[in-house]
């Protein structure tokens, strides 16, 4: 079926089976591989994106539910030449190690800081609890979000 939506500010139309996962449409049909599959069950958050301004796991969204939606992925947030302040903070504070959870972690941080520009450590922990990282022990990720919040202020 044909699905129309807005992706990183551009209008997009894809033809896909209705139950194809948004994650697969992004990665396979649209070549946006920044969103990762870590678990395929909504547990790890590596595929996190913003769907109609809400953080979601793109592995849990069938494409049929994206008709008319507005989607922001990591590719729409910043570029290597023009980093988003959150990305800059992750770079400076050591928030990324192996990097595979990072796009999802950055999106979850974006969602958190949009709702709460001055989060406490405990609010950051809760805000990012749906994003699993196996490298950092989260300490440097929490530092990164704290730092990004300072930039936002």
């Amino acid at each position: 079926m044909k699905i129309n939506f807005k992706l990183n500010e551009k209008n997009i139309s894809v033809d896909a089976p209705p139950m194809k996962r948004l994650l697969d449409v992004l990665r396979e049909d649209l070549g946006l591989t920044g969103s990762k599959e870590g678990c395929g069950e909504g547990e790890c958050g590596a595929c996190s994106i913003m769907l109609d301004k809400q953080l979601v796991n793109s592995c849990l969204v069938p494409i049929a539910q994206c008709e008319g939606a507005s989607i922001l992925t990591i590719e729409g947030l910043g570029t290597e030449e023009n980093l988003h302040p959150i990305q800059q903070a992750f770079l400076e504070c050591g928030g990324a190690q192996c990097g595979i959870c990072t796009p999802g972690m950055v999106m979850a941080s974006f969602d958190l800081l949009k709702k709460n520009s001055n989060p406490t450590v405990s609010q950051i922990q809760t805000g990012l609890a749906g994003n699993l990282c196996r490298c950092t022990g989260y300490v440097k990720i929490i530092d990164s979000v704290t730092k990004a919040a300072e930039t936002f202020k």
Partner: protein
């Protein structure tokens, strides 16, 4: 990803009327699909045997809240994020905020709906014990009209419930003036977030001067094939004083009343003991 994508159909009705119309001749051919946070997990594991789904996620008729003097109606399509952020719910039904916050993590709460959570009929779901405690009613809508089922009577066995194939969970109705003096919610999961409960207890009570329980209602998760009401325990506790002996006895009754199992996430013995401990913790809190 083990789901065979092309085998699945999904139809999106324009409005509730069209949805009900499709469902009116439905004898299980079409199943409802809301936020998808449970169904997609089965699908990706290659375990979603049903293949035809009616996407009701965008139906605005299921989305809102209605608040009047007597009750609050929560649309079946409301997400846990919407529920935990609702001011009346925050003021009057804190257990719903607790259970919504205990569900998965932010990204799950943004998608998962309360109607879907109920219809999924998992005995380990985080909110059903709260609906039992608050004595919620379900408003079930079909092309023939609506009917109201008290949630404590809804579940009939593992993954079986008083819900016809032509019905949609339109709303959850909770009375606002129940005279609750104390409430309690605790989910014991495998970790602090992103977890499935090993045991969960929600309770509300009306207590006179920190001494006498006028009435009490208790819901539990993960201790039986269905989200269950602790009827015998409630029956024993109603109009009882909060003495050490009564608390002990209530604990024993509860532990007899529930039937947890050993599974991949925990053990029956642990669930039983901890359910007893949670009840004790709840009852002790009634003294304050």
């Amino acid at each position: 990803m083990r789901g065979l994508t092309p085998d699945y159909e999904m139809k999106t009705p324009k409005n509730i009327k069209e949805a009900l119309q499709i469902l009116s001749t439905n004898s299980g051919e079409w199943q409802l699909f809301a936020g998808g946070t449970d169904l997609m997990v089965s699908y990706e594991a290659g375990k979603l045997t049903h293949k035809k789904f009616l996407n009701i996620n965008a139906l605005h008729e299921l989305k809102g809240f209605v608040v009047n003097d007597q009750e609050i109606l929560i649309g079946g399509g409301c997400t846990f994020t919407q529920i935990k952020n609702h001011p009346i719910i925050q003021q009057e039904f804190p257990l719903l905020v607790n259970s919504a916050e205990a569900t998965g993590a932010i990204a799950i709460q943004n998608r998962a709906t309360i109607g879907g959570n109920i219809a999924n009929m998992s005995p380990a779901a985080d909110t059903p014990p709260v609906l039992i405690a608050y004595n919620a009613d379900l408003i079930l809508l079909s092309s023939k009209g609506y009917r109201i089922v008290n949630y404590t009577q809804f579940h009939k066995g593992y993954k079986r419930a008083d819900l016809r194939a032509d019905e949609i969970i339109m709303a959850i109705k909770i009375h606002r003036h129940q005279g609750i003096s104390h409430s309690y919610y605790r989910k014991v999961g495998t970790r602090a977030a992103q977890s499935i409960s090993k045991v969960c207890l929600a309770g509300v009570a009306c207590v006179f001067r920190g001494q006498n329980i006028e009435w009490i209602q208790i819901g539990l998760g993960s201790v039986a094939p269905i989200p269950m009401q602790a009827i015998q325990t409630e029956h024993f506790l109603n109009e009882k004083d909060l003495t050490h002996e009564n608390i002990q006895q209530a604990r024993n009754i509860l532990m007899d009343e529930i039937h947890p199992i050993d599974d991949i996430r925990s053990e029956a013995k642990y669930r039983k003991t901890v359910a007893g401990n949670l009840l004790t913790e709840f009852l002790e809190s009634l003294k304050k």
